[in-house]
């Protein structure tokens, strides 16, 4: 067992019950586990939701997180995605200041990142970017000099690649 802190992505399949998000996030808070991001939405099965949680910790902490999650009655399944090849995506909307003169330059950045402009105002525009966390971080960094007015990130959702 190593004791280095690394980022882990876990998927938690839960009963779609009121309060289940509170149970899960409460568990993390109470036991001192860290939450970098948490997303929840419908799963492939009716009545079940899938949460994707990105957390930091050593292997021992990760093991405890999984075991403690399984103790919740509404938790059906816990999968450590980062132990397998996975696809992880996040979406961000970035409202960036853009006087008409700066627009072409910003469009250039957006195109290189295969992002999209989804709204244009008189002196701002909204950029939508989808990708892994690093890509979104990079995009934000590049847009920073123009002036970011508003930023909203969804947090990571993820899946194992292939047939698994």
């Amino acid at each position: 067992m190593t004791t280095t802190m690394t980022s882990h992505t876990i998927a938690v399949l839960v009963n779609d019950q009121p309060g289940v998000l509170q149970r899960v996030s409460g568990l993390f808070g109470r036991r001192g586990f860290n939450i970098e991001s948490i997303t929840v939405g419908q799963s492939e099965e009716e009545g079940l939701s899938r949460m994707v949680i990105v957390t930091q910790g050593d292997d021992k902490t990760l093991e405890q997180i999984e075991k403690q999650l399984y103790k919740l009655i509404d938790v059906i399944k816990v999968v450590n995605l980062s132990s397998k090849p996975m696809v992880a995506r996040e979406l961000a909307l970035i409202k960036v200041k853009s006087e008409p003169a700066e627009r072409p330059e910003i469009m250039g950045v957006v195109e290189t990142f295969r992002a999209a402009v989804v709204d244009i105002g008189t002196n701002s525009m909204i950029v939508q970017v989808v990708g892994d966390t690093e890509k979104i971080d990079a995009m934000i960094e590049l847009l920073h000099p123009y002036g970011i007015r508003e930023l909203s990130r969804t947090g990571v959702t993820a899946m194992i690649r292939g047939n698994a």
């Binding site: 839960v14 309060g19 409460g26 103790k71 919740l72």
Partner: protein, 581 residues
């Protein structure tokens, strides 16, 4: 020695009466479901949000309901009932303040894995979330201290919820389950059909262990030169005490039992080393620290047992048997994890193990320590020593009583000087350390076991946290013997202030306490007092000879400390021996 409360009819007889499908209210569904779950006794307190339930209880005689004088009394009584019987304890409280008054008791049961079903009322569904009169988000408040909880949305789901709650509370790692019932749900009607099956996809406690792991345990036992067993409350809860005795008899491995494990193994057995940890025996702590194989059976490596973790059992290969996989590796690294029910694990393990000669020198060493370093105190002929009082209770009852305690020095002295021989005879708040628990839990224990002598041992501080329940003993003639070890101070706090805070005795003086004898009498309970050994023997005999409830106050010396003691931050073999030297 039996409680005067009439017997309730058996569930079998009642089944037929209550199994018929019928359109009834949520409140009636609740009561019938409780009967069908085998409930014999409920502890509760009414209020606006549970008035439909209390209306249904009017004249309902198929289980007992005891009206305590405080919801804290009710929930601790339900807890004591559960610990003494192995059944689920049930408590009813109203919304808001009634519900929040149960929080300490829920946390107490959660920490000690006690099966409870706690029923709270809530405001009508349409008012939930509006800060209505006596509204509290009790499911939210108690989420971290329940095994599971339900806010019931409609009367139709009530039968399923109650059935699931009982199942969850008393299987796997046991614990409290809360059912919050809005007032309209308890009033609305539906066709009641008892639920027969349970479908909880995310809940499958692993009872049967992996056989390969058991073989590893057996092999480790064969090789060990200094093996030790550490047994905890899990043995009692699984009902595995006979299997444990067989395990020890076969292997002749020395055994220590945690605070909650007292009674899981007969104290008279020469391989028993007493309790480990902060106020444990020299032998148990030395044995753990020197062991090369530590077999944890149903204990959770609480910090009161381990002391400083990084120096705990430094040479031991650790085996951990637990029904809750999350306990394994939580505090102590484990080489051989065994997930399963203790009784089942031991049943399967016993045929694989035998006595090993390699541990003979070790067995010799353990008996030597046991002989050299027993618990000891300096007795006195002029004043009563609390340890002497516990010895008196032990001698006169031959270790055959059910003992409940409150929290503090008296609790540790009882753990040290009372010799338990049976499981479910020792009821104490171990994990949370809840003052106020001792006395009401005895009422519950006596309701569960009307045939047994129940003694509740309390400090003068903790006795004042739930003393109002004397009323219940008086009214129902519940023959609990309530002992108050009166040292006139918050003794355990005083001890820490003396040993760690340089005699700075901050707010531990209990001057202004009531005359406990008069307090008992005010409630209609016989009260007795002793200030020296002669009186002590006499009044205790009188208490034992009195058929109903009795409160006995033993006035003891104030300065006495609990020894040995491992102070915080030390490893468990670094003990202050005090009078045990």
């Amino acid at each position: 020695m039996s409680a005067q409360i009439p017997a309730v009819r058996s569930t079998e007889q009642l089944r037929e009466k209550w199994m018929k499908p019928e359109v009834i209210t949520g409140s009636e569904i609740l009561l019938r479901s409780l009967v069908l779950e085998g409930v014999e006794c409920v502890f509760g307190y009414p209020g606006g949000a549970v008035l439909y339930i209390y209306d249904a209880l009017y004249g309902f005689n198929d289980f007992h309901h005891l009206l305590t004088r405080h919801e804290q009394g009710a929930i601790h009584a339900a807890d004591g009932y559960a610990r003494a019987s192995g059944k689920v304890g049930v408590c009813i409280a109203t919304s808001g303040p009634g519900a929040t008054n149960t929080v300490t008791g829920i946390a107490t049961a959660f920490m000690d894995s006690v099966p409870l079903v706690v029923i709270t009322g809530n405001v009508v569904s349409s008012l939930i979330g509006t800060d209505a009169f006596q509204e509290a988000d009790i499911t939210g408040i108690t989420m971290p201290i329940t095994k599971h909880s339900y806010l019931v949305r409609s009367v139709e789901e009530l039968p399923r919820v109650i059935h699931e709650a009982f199942h969850i509370a008393n299987t796997g790692r046991k614990g409290p389950v809360l059912i919050d019932i809005p007032k309209d749900v308890s009033a609305n009607k539906t066709l009641f059909q008892p639920v027969q099956s349970i479908d909880l996809r995310g809940y499958n406690p692993k009872v049967v262990p992996n056989h390969h792991q058991l073989e590893k345990v057996a092999a480790a036992i064969k090789e060990a030169e200094r093996p030790v067993i550490l047994a905890g409350g899990g043995v009692v809860y699984s009902g595995g005490h006979e299997e444990l005795l067989e395990f020890v008899t076969r292997t002749e491995i020395p055994i220590t039992t945690t605070l909650l494990g007292l009674g899981a193994f007969p104290s008279g057995n020469p391989l028993w080393m007493g309790m480990p940890g902060m106020h444990g025996t020299y032998t148990a702590n030395q044995a753990i620290q020197k062991s090369d194989l530590l077999i944890n059976i149903g204990a959770r490596f609480d910090d009161r047992v381990t002391g400083r973790l990084d120096g705990f059992a430094p040479h031991a290969k650790v085996v951990h048997i637990d029904i809750d996989p999350a306990e394994i590796g939580k505090n102590v690294n484990t080489e051989i994890p065994v997930v399963g029910d203790v009784k089942t694990v031991l049943e399967l393990l016993n045929p694989l193990v035998s006595r090993s000669d390699k541990a003979d020198a070790w067995r010799g060493q353990i008996s030597q320590w046991l002989a050299d370093k027993p618990y000891k105190y300096k007795d006195s002929d002029t004043e009563l020593k609390p340890q002497w009082v516990i010895e008196l209770l032990n001698d006169t009852t031959k270790g055959e009583a059910i003992i409940t305690t409150d929290v503090g020095q008296h609790q540790m002295w009882t753990a040290q000087y009372y010799k338990f021989n049976h499981p479910r005879s020792w009821i104490t708040s171990g994990g949370l350390g809840t003052m106020g628990f001792g006395f009401p839990s005895a009422i519950g224990a006596q309701m569960a076991r009307p045939d047994r002598l129940v003694i509740s041992i309390n400090g003068d501080g903790g006795m004042q946290m739930c003393a109002q329940e004397l009323a219940i003993c008086a009214i129902h003639n519940i023959p609990v013997k309530v002992v108050v070890i009166n040292n006139q101070v918050l003794g355990m706090v005083r001890q820490w202030q003396e040993l760690i805070y340089e005699n700075r005795y901050s707010y531990i003086d209990l001057a202004g306490s009531p005359d406990f004898v008069k307090l008992a009498e005010a409630y209609g309970v016989k009260g007795l007092r002793a200030t020296n050994k002669e009186e002590a023997k006499q009044v205790w005999q009188e208490a034992m000879d009195t058929p109903g409830p009795v409160l006995v106050e033993f006035v003891v010396s104030k300065e006495e400390n609990v020894y040995p003691m491992v102070t915080q931050g030390s490893t468990i073999d670094q003990m202050l021996m005090g009078d045990c030297e």
